[in-house]
């Protein structure tokens, strides 16, 4: 009995994936756990492991093909499997040159070029992927602009005649990857096209600063208890159930507590509407080789510090390996973000808000500061710098300051079992 291997859906917003590599040739034996193919969305890459033993009978797509999710990628079965079934599937091979066969293909898959009156399918050019969602091609101008702006046209729904993608459809579209590096030793510089993630970051950071009213308050928090707690955790290393709770985890935990008292900070701004979240969906900035990523820990306020710490560590690892669920790295997934540059020794910075969120907390290095210890005694106390950037469209200074002050208080009084 042949099995159709379908392209997994990697997050609700993903409709297409690109096959980056086929590991197995047609006719080869595969075993459960063998890698069948690698694929990627515009944000992350994945590998598909076989869930059964058998022979790879047929690839229905090739490397580089853009495959709608839940579409059959390949067929695994026994060599003796029913020829007819095989043929039917083979006829579905993407890009089949036989228009008559294409005519039989379900519309849900081949929206492109099914009607001869709608302008036909878009011929795949040297730079362009072929199928477009729901449309019948793209205008030359839109194609040119998309290439220049690095926009992935496969994600765009065309509003032109017959569903053609036209220029106005590119507004607000996302940026795609084009990785061609040209280097010429004779030149004084080399031009490297931005990577996919770089383009996303570039766009969202730029848009953030263009489209909101950001300002940053800086405040120091007494970090003595924080350091104590961290020491205590370290001491427990080697014990059973040991969780390596970091300073950042602790700060985040303090933030989560403070957010409970300041629901307006735990929010997003959508046009003229404030979206206040019942739970804290905390975004944590993670530095990866591919660039900055901000995975979101859903309902962080319902987690224990240990759970939170573990989850943070897992997500960070997923981000670094490129295997993260694209849905949880969308800015819309978070209600607040923490970005920690403390371990780099940064003493003060102005983090940029992950729109549509309304605020972000920058966590700085712990530095000793002179303090009045009481009774005319002065000494040095470790302080951790906190930099809160907030969107003044959504929040006022007093409100933001009260929240920041409370974060500082939570840190000052942090306790760990």
């Amino acid at each position: 009995m042949a099995t159709q291997i379908k392209m997994p859906r990697q997050g609700q917003s993903v409709e297409y994936c690109i096959i980056t590599k086929l590991y197995v040739e047609e006719g080869s034996e595969v075993k459960e756990g063998d890698l069948l193919f690698a694929y990627e969305t515009d944000k992350a890459s994945f590998e598909y492991e076989s869930e059964q033993d058998g022979t790879l009978l047929k690839w229905l797509f090739s490397e580089g093909d853009e495959v709608p999710v839940l579409e059959t990628v390949c067929i695994i079965g026994e060599l003796a499997d029913d020829e007819r079934g095989f043929e039917i599937h083979a006829g579905e091979k993407h890009g089949s040159p036989d228009p008559l066969q294409r005519g039989d293909i379900p519309l849900s898959r081949h929206k492109v070029g099914t009607s001869p009156l709608k302008g036909g399918s878009h011929p795949p050019g040297p730079s362009g992927p072929s199928p477009f969602k729901g449309g019948s091609g793209i205008s030359p101008r839109a194609r040119k602009m998309a290439e220049e702006m690095g926009i992935d046209i496969s994600m765009i729904k065309g509003s032109g005649p017959g569903g053609r993608i036209i220029v106005r459809d590119l507004e607000g579209a996302e940026i795609t990857e084009k990785a061609v590096t040209t280097t010429d030793d004779s030149m004084e510089y080399s031009d490297e096209p931005l990577t996919n993630i770089r383009k996303i970051i570039a766009r969202s950071m730029y848009q953030s600063l263009q489209n909101s009213a950001q300002l940053t308050h800086h405040l120091g928090a007494d970090a003595r208890k924080l350091l104590e707690a961290r020491e205590k955790i370290k001491e427990a290393k080697g014990q059973q159930d040991f969780v390596n709770i970091t300073i950042n985890d602790l700060v985040c935990f303090a933030v989560i507590k403070a957010l409970a008292d300041h629901p307006r900070i735990n929010s997003q701004l959508h046009g003229e509407t404030m979206r206040l979240f019942r739970h804290v969906n905390l975004g944590i900035a993670v530095d990866t080789d591919r660039g900055l990523m901000v995975p979101v820990i859903k309902s962080a306020d319902s987690l224990s510090i240990e759970e939170f710490s573990k989850r943070t560590a897992d997500l960070s690892e997923q981000c670094r390996s490129g295997a993260v669920d694209p849905d949880i790295i969308r800015p819309e997934a978070g209600s607040f973000t923490v970005s920690n540059l403390g371990n780099y020794g940064v003493e003060m910075f102005t983090p940029v808000i992950n729109l549509p969120q309304t605020a972000i907390l920058g966590v700085n290095a712990i530095v000793p500061r002179p303090a009045d210890l009481g009774g005319g005694v002065y000494g040095f106390i470790p302080y951790i710098g906190l930099s809160l950037t907030y969107d003044h469209r959504a929040l006022d200074g007093a409100e933001a300051t009260r929240f920041l002050k409370q974060v500082a208080e939570e840190i000052k009084n942090i306790e760990i079992k």
Binding site: L117, S139, R141, R143, K144, G160, P161, R164, I166, V167
Partner: protein, 822 residues
């Protein structure tokens, strides 16, 4: 419609009869000995020599075509050779009395006439002027070929020059008289008075009338002879030309020294066949072609049949007829009987005529009989004639060797310059007046009632508050054309204008109101309703050296002047190797409200023809500026006007239409309104519908339209349009021509090709429907309307939010209509 000519019913209804005078048929009966009183012996021998030269020249071509060689030298001439072996006496007799100031026009079978006329002009010119002509023509490039190794007289050299220039032209050599661009059927050499020979049968029938008009109006020496075949008497343009040439007004209405007929001889070279069709007895009903003259005018065109087999009979007839022309009693019709031994062309097997007939005519051979007469009358002897024969043969052979030598006589180097032919299509020069002189006018310009009326008008359509002035108060499009035309009449003494209802009426659409008061008859007159001749006469007038504005009252009548507009007007500048100029501004009025045969926009058809400049202004400012530019040039311009907007004021050019002279460069489109979202390129009067559409697009859909008025179709500068498309990313082309095969489609194709990467949608064309122009009440279903423009944008370019279409521009409908041929 002159008021001083009273159409008296008492006279008109009176009983009577038309009495024709007898037409002479072959009345010449002098013997050679009698003619010795009139000709020197040398002159009589010279006639023999000229006929022999023509015969040897034509025989050489015949041998090349039929055997592939001449006197042992092989040559392949793939082009045409319509030979006139047998017709030499008719050609030499016709030309004998003509000098370089007399013009001849011919047909596809005119080698003999070219040589005869050239030889006569050489004979009658002095050495100095011959040398000047030869040395200056194409910077002496033909002269250089023949002058090398020449020994003997200048006239002898000029004969070699004539033979070589003609043969090199036949062989398409750049050293030919027309740089090889004319060829066998169209070779000519104007300095000797040899004007274009025409490969369209009867083509010279109206063009020659224009040349005669030029001679008359500009008081030039000389007469004009149209050598056309007997079969061409069936052609419309010949009849129209004859009608034009015999108009009563020359005698009845033209005044002073202009009173009197045209100096024109329509000379039917009657060889009895039109290809294989026998004109007398089969394809025509005249019996004797001279009969045609009888019905044309009171003078019966002084028509006469003459014996073209005898050169002296032809000379005698031309002598008599030239005297008639000198008395201003032309035109004249001659039926010159002759016979060609060769077929229509070398591929003609003469299946339509009997051997007996050909042998009988050979017994009447003009050269054989004339030669015998010369000897019988002891004017010369056999030995002397043999010497002449040998000399003639050598002359032709030497010419043949030179003309077939690729080094001496190369072809145009189109490898080196692929545009070399393109460069002779237009003359692209700027000339105030075709001749220096005082233009004949009747009153000072400032006293002209129309000029005074226009002076009271508002030259910009809107007042300071932006409110439009009343139509009567506005300076209108027709005023713009008038100002440019009358200005040129006061600048260029050669300028004439004619067409239907041009005088008195002031043009059917009042463009010329005021011109009648300003100009004598010979500069502005009504033509017969002969659209072919209106254009053909203009072609002849212009190629002779004058500037002319013919008018076609409705664009729909262009079909009537098809050959003149498609084959004559556009081609002669290039076919002459850019020797001729063609300063013709053909005004064509595009109708409206008058249905299927009076409302069509045929700009696309005209734009298709290489060699015409095509303009279609839509505003008074553009109309005046473009008419000025058209009249300043020497290229043929078809100047389209729209009856829908003759009364439109200037709505775009801030500051209004300048009072003084200015030109708008031909070929430059104009941005009438800037915009950012879509470009609409409009041809002609559709501009105003585009403006309406643009207003709606802005108000309802917040779409900003850039409106470009093409103004010119040919030439056309695409740059401003491409620049606009690079900005807006979208373009529609619209105009009143039926969409299928239109120039709008041509523009769309070019723009798509040149701005492909900038287009957000295909270039979309909205033209008129591919069916008849209906009655005025139904015109909105034929011509593009504002809602069509918006619907087509919505359907094919940019869906408009909330828009519902009234008109179906879907592919489905387009395919369906194409299937049905509509």
């Amino acid at each position: 419609m002159p008021k001083n000519q009273f159409i008296d019913p008492d006279k008109i209804r009176r009983k009577g009869e038309i009495i024709f005078q007898p037409l002479p048929v072959n009345q010449y009966d002098k013997s050679l000995s009698e003619e010795r009183k009139n000709f020197s012996d040398d002159a009589l021998v010279g006639i023999y020599r000229d006929m022999m030269l023509i015969r040897e020249f034509e025989s050489m071509l015949n041998l090349i075509k039929t055997t592939g060689e001449y006197r042992g030298i092989a040559y392949n001439h793939p082009g045409p050779a319509h030979l006139s072996i047998g017709q030499e006496a008719a050609a030499v007799g016709m030309a004998y009395n003509l000098d370089a100031d007399d013009y001849i026009f011919g047909s596809h079978r005119s080698h003999g006439e070219i040589l005869a006329k050239g030889l006569s002009a050489i004979h009658r010119s002095d050495d100095k002027s011959l040398e000047a002509i030869m040395r200056s023509y194409f910077n002496g490039s033909i002269y250089d070929v023949v002058a090398k190794n020449h020994e003997g007289s200048i006239k002898g050299l000029a004969t070699k020059f004539l033979l070589y220039g003609t043969l090199a032209e036949i062989f398409a050599r750049v050293t030919g008289f027309n740089k090889g661009l004319g060829g066998s059927m169209h070779a000519f050499f104007t300095p000797f008075g040899v004007y274009p020979n025409n490969a369209i049968v009867g083509g010279s029938g109206d063009i020659s009338v224009g040349a005669a008009l030029y001679k008359k109006v500009n008081r030039k020496k000389g007469i004009v002879v149209a050598n056309i075949g007997d079969a061409s008497m069936a052609c419309g343009p010949v009849w129209e030309g004859i009608s034009f040439a015999t108009m009563d007004q020359f005698v009845e209405l033209w005044e002073g020294d202009m009173k009197g007929g045209l100096p024109l001889i329509i000379n039917i070279m009657n060889n009895h066949y039109g290809m294989g069709g026998q004109t007398s007895g089969e394809t025509m009903g005249y019996g004797i072609a001279a009969r045609i003259g009888a019905g044309v005018n009171r003078d019966q065109m002084h028509a006469e049949r003459i014996d073209g087999m005898n050169p002296l009979a032809v000379i005698d007839a031309f002598n008599r007829k030239i005297k008639i022309l000198e008395k201003k009693r032309g035109p004249v019709l001659l039926d010159t009987v002759t016979y060609r031994y060769s077929g229509h062309s070398p591929s003609d097997a003469s299946s339509y005529r009997s051997k007996e007939e050909m042998e009988a005519w050979q017994k009447h051979d003009c050269i054989y009989n004339y030669r015998r007469d010369l000897i019988d009358n002891k004017i010369t002897d056999e030995d002397s004639l043999r010497l002449i024969d040998a000399e003639v043969n050598d002359l032709v052979f030497e010419t043949f060797k030179l003309a077939t030598d690729d080094k001496i006589s190369p072809r145009m180097d189109a490898d080196k310059d692929p545009d070399i032919i393109g460069k002779v299509m237009f003359s692209d020069i700027s000339v105030d007046a075709m001749e220096i002189g005082d233009p004949e006018v009747l009153i000072p310009l400032k006293d002209n009632p129309r000029v005074q009326q226009i002076a009271r008008k508002e030259r910009y359509a809107f007042d300071k508050e932006g409110k439009p002035y009343s139509k009567m108060k506005q300076y209108q499009l027709r005023d713009g054309i008038f100002e440019a035309v009358i200005d040129r009449f006061y600048k260029d003494p050669t300028l004439v204008a004619f067409g239907e209802e041009n005088r008195d009426w002031g043009g059917a659409f009042a463009v010329y109101r005021g011109l009648t008061e300003a100009l004598p008859y010979h500069r502005l007159f009504n033509s017969p309703i002969s659209e072919g001749a209106i254009v053909g006469v203009a072609v002849g007038y212009a190629m002779s050296g004058g500037r002319v504005i013919p008018e076609i009252m409705y664009c729909d009548f262009l079909g009537r002047s098809g050959d003149e507009v498609f084959n004559q007007l556009p081609k002669w500048q290039a076919m002459s190797g850019n020797v001729l100029k063609m300063p013709v501004v053909l005004r064509v009025s595009v109708g409206s409200k008058y249905g299927a045969q009076h409302s069509q926009d045929w700009t696309s058809i005209v734009a298709h023809i290489p060699g015409l400049k095509v303009l279609f202004p839509a505003t008074p400012y553009d109309a005046k500026g473009l008419m000025n530019a058209a009249l300043q040039g020497t290229d043929p311009v078809v100047f389209f006007e729209s009856q829908r907007i003759y009364d439109t004021g200037e709505q775009f050019h801030k500051g209004g239409v300048p009072q003084g002279y200015y030109e708008i460069p031909i070929g430059e489109p104009d941005i009438k309104r800037s915009g950012s979202d879509i470009t609409v390129l409009s041809i002609g009067a559709t501009l105003y519908r585009v403006v309406e559409a643009a207003d709606i697009l802005q108000e309802r859909y917040n779409i900003s339209t850039e409106i470009i008025d093409a103004r010119s179709l040919v030439p056309f500068n695409y740059e401003p349009v491409l620049e606009s498309v690079r900005k807006t990313g979208r373009i529609m082309i619209t105009g009143d021509a039926s969409e299928r095969g239109s120039f709008m489609n041509d523009m769309a194709r070019n723009i798509t090709e040149m701005a492909f990467d900038y287009l957000d949608a295909p270039a979309v064309v909205v033209g008129s429907r591919n069916w008849i122009t209906p009655a005025y009440e139904l015109e909105d279903y034929f011509f593009p309307q504002p809602d069509w423009i918006i619907d087509a944008i919505h359907t094919s370019i940019l869906p408009l939010e909330g828009h519902t279409v009234k008109n179906d521009f879907s592919n489905k409908t387009k395919i369906e209509r194409a299937k049905r041929g509509i």
